[in-house]
């Protein structure tokens, strides 16, 4: 029963996708999906980067609340960590800028 369900679901997905295939084969508007792919890639990168930075900042503020004396050390590592996390999203950005004409 479950397998049948999967089969129908994938069939329906294919059915929905056929106009796209047909369009690609027939008229082929070049790079139709490029803006969508760029937006999706950047959104994924930005979202996950935000998640990572949020985690880092949360632990830093927590540590600061427990031990306010350790501010300089925590600040240094926080800035460093945020910069390193952020650079991953920026790599995505640069690749999109380079590849999308």
């Amino acid at each position: 029963m479950k397998k049948l369900q999967y089969l129908f679901m994938s069939l329906s997905a294919l059915l929905l996708a056929t106009p796209a295939f047909a369009q690609d084969a027939a008229a082929a508007p070049a790079n139709q999906w490029v803006p969508l792919a760029a937006a999706l890639g950047m959104a994924l990168a930005a979202g996950l980067c935000g998640l990572g930075q949020g985690k880092a900042t949360a632990s830093a503020t927590e540590a600061l609340a427990r031990n306010p004396g350790a501010r300089p050390g925590i600040f240094l590592f926080l800035i460093l960590g945020l910069a390193l996390i952020e650079s991953l999203a920026l790599f995505t950005f640069v690749i999109i800028i380079l590849k999308v004409k």
Binding site: I79, A83, E86, S87, L90, F91, F93, V94, I97
Partner: protein, 243 residues
Amino acid sequence: MPTQLIITQLLNHHFAAPVTAMLRSLHIQPKFPNAPISDAFSMELLCFVVLLVYFVAVRISLSIEKPSGVQHLAEITHEFINEQSESIIGHGHERFSSYLTVIGLFILLANLMGLVPGLESPTADVVVPLGLALTTFIYYHYHGIRANGFGYIKQFLGPVWWLYWLLLPIEIISHFARVLSLTVRLYANMFAGDLVTLAFFSLVPVGIPLIFLGLHFGVAIIQAYVFLLLSMIYLSLAVSHEH
């Protein structure tokens, strides 16, 4: 002819012929022979001149009894750099403070230039951060070799002898990746800052882009600090002695 800033146009008006001749003698064919000087280069030159004037002004007005305004600024910078590098590099950090001060101030000024109308950030062009990153790369390797001699190669080899063949290529790649990440971080931050302001300017031409200019101001300062911090960390790793 590309559209250029006023300063670049002025420079090109006066120096286009000798610069093109010099580039041709080095077998480089400039894209526009009438305008070989790019915006990034003229902005870098402006940055260089401003810093030179600043340092000369500090040197001339140096006084113990009556410290001037620029001297206070220089002392704050010096204190900040020394404090940071002492906590990261530790013993023998005074040797690097000149390089670190100059690279920090240069990047800070270059980043902040983008906020002034009529100027733009030279660091928003990928060539300039690449140059800075390569300079830092050569500088910390030079000091690593100076401090450790031939033993510097031990840092590339890892802890045990039977893993040397595996770790050497990995370490070499990771050192070149540092250049890449330093370049891309600075370039992409500055470029994205300009782009975001522009995008919101095209949506709402009044008021709202100002918020993003403020954001760009913060990012400019933080990126200069991060570049400085990473240079210090690479230096400290290079000059540290194995025990």
